[in-house]
Subunit: 100 residues, 2 copies
């Protein structure tokens, strides 16, 4: 499984627009092939920071997601509205049973 985390720091004057766009992007992405989960959150220590947590079946599904026109448009809009370049991290992940 692939885990993707990303975060976008809004400006106070762009937060409302970014919030709506991020939520639309997240809700749209959930219906794409290979998307296991896609959510967007606000950092409790900085409400201007929108944090994505995504799970995809494999690299191919994620590559398809990145190349969709709607994803590319969102990335472009997010970059334009953000206070700093958005960050993204990608992991190959295997679920383990809960212990401890």
């Amino acid at each position: 499984m692939i885990i993707v985390t990303g975060n976008i720091l809004a400006k106070s004057e762009t937060l409302d627009e970014l919030f709506v766009l991020a939520l639309e992007h997240s809700r749209r992405s959930r219906f794409e092939p290979g998307c296991l989960a896609h959510g967007v959150h606000q950092d409790c220590e900085n409400q201007l920071r929108l944090v994505f947590f995504e799970q995809w079946t494999d690299h191919s599904a994620l590559a398809q997601h990145f190349h969709l026109p709607a994803s590319r448009l969102f990335a472009k809009e997010a970059f334009a509205l953000a206070a700093e370049p958005p960050k993204i991290e990608i992991y190959e992940a295997v679920a383990v049973s809960v212990g401890g």
Copy 2:
């Protein structure tokens, strides 16, 4: 690396208290051995849902974290304040370079 995600659904009357406790837990955890990142967020689709994203160096560090009295107290308090049993997922993860 170990990735931990968790979420706690508050009740409207417990959100403020859970928010404070979750933030305290997150800030305390960052200083523990092997903690690479620890953050708490509010789900943009349901502000009552607090979502944790954590990164730890290895299973041993995470086991130590779970066994600390402060962590066990937080888990107990969170369970008592939550609208449903909190969820936690643990992954063994390897970072990959960003593509696409």
